[in-house]
Symmetry: D2
Subunit: 372 residues, 4 copies
């Protein structure tokens, strides 16, 4: 099979032929139909992010595809099934806190590196080997829509955070960093889960306005400045009532002011979930947390069964994949796809690699159409 291989950090991906994978027990092989390209993939492959990963490796994180072959112990999955390929590989020999590999992206611990040695190759390839538990049936699908199901992988991240926050229908949630690709997906997911009000914060007024245009009056936009007192004042004026939950999903920023500003806004007995990229320490007032019974939870990715649930939300029409801009690249143009994603990915804008796409303008352009 053809795959886009990273030979060394800082070198371009090389399209080469790897041996076809064959599934053993507990495994399956998927024919990749579309694989999303992360906006920061270029930073990972260049080495700038210093993500631990053994090279050479076919990169690419998550995909949509069709089951090619299953191991002998598969009970539900069968060749031909459309599936979402969850890149979150969890160690099977630890029940409470397993090591986690993100396929084709990061192996942040010795245990994860053992997982990488077996399940390492990513989704920028014609085929991918996955643990059986990482493939989730999508149901019947029009092949033309496969690419936009890649948004599922982005939505899953804030979904994990909103589950960790135990978001209940009718509650108000503040999403700190709502103007990024993950944060804006979080706004959509929170509304699909029944949030009564989503306070969307970020620095781009244009993106905030677009969120209101897309989702209506349940979204309350608040443009922030990183000036703590200005921001707190803006939030106090804008937020109607109490904030039940806060999800921080900001990218790495020079300081923690925005995180703090958001976290301090949660109501007594509320929950703040941390999923962002902040480096360094987060300082919060001990007595405030204690006196008001506030919970602060770190959350990495999402629970094992989350993809099945989120697929249900999409299938029910509660979370739409329709109004999403897609730029398609064939596998041969993987480097172009990575560069394109770095420059253009953003809220509701996805770059995908589709192995069988005819190289050309059609795949290279932005297509926006309603999902049947």
């Amino acid at each position: 099979m053809k795959a886009a291989v990273l030979k060394a950090f800082g070198t371009p991906l090389v399209i080469e032929t790897l041996p076809d994978p064959h599934p053993g027990a507990g495994e399956l092989v998927v024919d990749i139909v579309a694989a999303p390209v992360l906006s920061y993939a270029a930073e990972v492959y260049s080495g700038a992010r210093q993500y631990p990963l053994h090279l050479p490796l076919a990169v690419g994180t998550g995909a949509v595809g069709r089951v090619r072959a299953v191991g002998p112990d598969a009970t539900r999955l069968a060749p031909g099934d459309w599936v979402f390929c969850d890149p979150t590989v969890r160690a099977r020999d630890e029940a409470l806190a397993p090591d986690i590999l993100l396929q084709g992206l990061i192996a942040p611990s010795p245990g994860a590196q053992r997982l990488q040695a077996h399940f390492g190759h990513g989704s920028f390839a014609e085929q991918q080997l996955l643990p059986l538990e990482n493939a989730f049936r999508l149901g019947p699908l029009d092949a033309a829509d496969a690419a936009r199901w890649c948004a599922l992988g982005t939505c899953l991240v804030p979904y994990g955070g909103l589950l960790a926050a135990d978001l209940q229908a009718g509650e108000t949630v503040l999403i700190s960093g709502a103007t990024g690709q993950f944060g804006s997906a979080g706004v959509a997911v929170a509304l699909a889960m029944g949030a009564g009000c989503v306070v969307a914060t970020g620095r781009s007024e244009a993106v905030l306005a677009d969120l209101v245009r897309r989702f209506g009056a349940r979204v309350v936009p608040v443009a922030l400045t990183s000036n703590e007192s200005t921001d707190q004042q803006r939030l106090r004026q804008a937020v109607p009532g109490l904030v039940d939950k806060v999800l921080d999903i900001l990218p790495p920023l020079p300081d923690a002011t925005l995180v703090r500003t958001a976290a301090q806004l949660v109501r007594p007995h509320g929950t703040v979930v941390l999923m962002g990229g902040q480096r360094g320490e987060l300082a919060l007032n001990y007595a405030h947390l204690m006196r008001h019974c506030i919970t602060v939870r770190g959350q990495y990715m999402y629970p094992r069964e989350a993809p099945a649930r989120l697929i249900g939300l999409i299938r029910a029409g509660l979370l739409s994949l329709a109004d999403v801009a897609l730029t398609r690249f064939p596998l041969d143009q993987a480097n172009e796809a990575v560069a394109h994603a770095a420059q253009t990915s953003g809220p509701f804008r996805y770059t995908v690699i589709q192995p069988d796409a005819t190289p050309g303008t059609e795949q290279g352009g932005s297509v926006r159409y309603p999902l049947a």
Copy 2:
């Protein structure tokens, strides 16, 4: 104050003047603006239902009104606040399983009867005395809309069941008895909570069709016959995928066939909540429950904080009070209101008593208008 008093079971309500209530600590008095009339109120007041209740008593269960006066320990409520009066009075001196009085309706245990002796008078009155914990702020309100907030009390019952089922956004829930007033409210609440699909069962094809008209394709109607094998076949054909949760909210029926048919449909690891009126025993297959890890939960009313949450759903626009038919009666016509409710109440049709309504045709008619 004027009130509609039941002197003895089987006699008409008498409009008479009772002493004005005054709130002690832990209490408030509400000026009643609108009180809903249950469809089966006539059966309670006639004695046919044999509900335990000490008479004479001002009847009426739940209301919408404005705070008139609060006890000295009120911290948030203040005179003038619009509030929902929750009739579910819980004994304060038992933490784990308190006795429950439903004001103006039923006092089913010795403990509940002690509660009735103090908090007994119901909402068919100009004023009502309530425990502080039973008044929930509605926020600013147009007085013309007060009556339709009475639907909140009906919605709360299935909401309690759906909370007991731990309904998650995207799940499929079967509501057994969806064509009654409580069941149809349950369909609306389940959708507001983010249910991906609501399988609505009942015997009235017209009401099922109206549910689909109101709520769209997320509602899957299934007309049942009480013939177990016919019904199972219809359900199997109609239901798309697995049923995660079942809520039984059927009225008393001669046999338990419909309850069983619904309960048996839940998927492995699913939950069946029992809130209906079935008399006698429910027989379920032990090995089926055990092998498939199925939970069957009885649920009476709803948790103490449920009204606050459901008000949030309504305020957020997720649960609409707009498309509801109201028939209004003044307090002087309480007996007419009870008779009218018995004849006409049904899905999305409410009869309310409003103390200050001018008696006349306007209140006697059905008004349907959108809520601003």
Copy 3:
């Protein structure tokens, strides 16, 4: 490797040589040190229980052993580790309600039968192939004690039920069927979990007395007769206060009287867990369940992480393996072991097969000694 193979239902086990298993990814091979023999194994192998299972097959369900080899994706387990081999194999390609195979015992669904085709061979063998997630590290161990860790497999079953009941420290739990091997283990586990009082019911006064001797005054024994009114009276007299939780773990009985008697005793807002062998239907009063918010939960086996937690309870000294009678058989005498288990297994009495045991009286006798 040598194994005890069931060629056809109703025929004796045959000791023969099977190919040594080799672990693929997601798998490990364990050198079996001790495998427990279920008291009802004879009924399964004879065909009397009509358990679905493809033959021929090396039987045996659960074991204690040492890791021989691991697949390439193991992150924590390593050759030489002492492990508990959990026979509960869950399908990996279904997140919410996976098919379950009990190795060497029962494959009750088409999905489970696919699992059996790969992971079928049981623990009456020198080696066993297992999914990685089914091996749980026991920590350092004296080989002489390995056999008594087989009790872990028995304790896990009621532990699953007590987890399903959400048993809290200080609560009162009634164990219905406390005089059997699983029920008596449940008494020990409930006390280890901090139960304030365990009401132990059963028909054997001798076993009940032994439970009190072992565990002291927190055990309240109640000898039952299967006469519903006599039993209810005895329970009412014996039980000090309210019963928070009920665990039914009775073997198959001609009628459901004892199950009903126990279930009806739970307090309002309490939980009844069903893990027993009752055939046919369980009829419970609908209005009683509803009015008192009672939960009835079927539970099959235990959650995936339960063995890790229960090992913690044992390691902490809260659950003792010391006062257990063991009868040891070598693998060659597997048929004798099965016959012996059928005749003698009971509360705190275990029959185990140890491949390397020298055949002879030492292994054939009952040894009772304290665990270091």
Copy 4:
């Protein structure tokens, strides 16, 4: 009735006669038999702690006594019942996050001050007025043992934290500040809840040794120095395996080093509960919390039903009140009691005021005896 009244911060308590309280609905009056004196009560009454409180006021926080009279809506409590008087008064007119008054101690918000205006008088008195929901039946009691039930109030605080941590039987919990009165009570409570191992940290080696003497090998003592690297090394050496939960219950200290040291020790997916007195900010590594899915929860006091549950643990013999040193003072010597508590209260050492105690040496001395 006689009561010890604080007229102004910094002045001695004055024993004077207040009007006897009479219970309205939702209230009861208790004849106080024993009221505990907090070790830091002197700092509150002197004004040093600057606790918000309207004076004059009968002080005293929590008590054990007998019901004298109940309001008309009491369903379970009756005159003569032995009860624990929970000082944690929660506002009734807010369901999700009520204001909290600690009777006779602190009213930290405007809402709490409204509560104080009605329920303010504390337990250093012959009688006390309480909300019905604040009295918990203790069951039959020998009057001579009433005073040692005052330890319940101290145990409840760490119990609230351990419930917030969702401590499970068999888990390892680190109690940071285990050598204080609340922390040492937390060690006892954690063991009663089935903790497999309690890592007890503090600076007093003598107290740590006493904890091991009292509770045995499940307690792992670690003497800390406030030098972060030394302490981390000691902890790493001493702790056997992973720490599932951390409870910080340290008193106010000049810096947060000890809190951080403890918090950083929790395992992935573990929980840190904050109940201590730290002032200022707690800085924790964002990426560490996020990558390891760690939860940090502030917790103030305990849930409403916690006293009922903890009484169950004591009644079951799982939590002992026997080995506790008591110094008794009559109400007339309230100032001496406060001074004595400041000087001598500590782990398992309590000072109590008993209104009917004969003034003299017997009550003034330390008595240690086993509870029947």
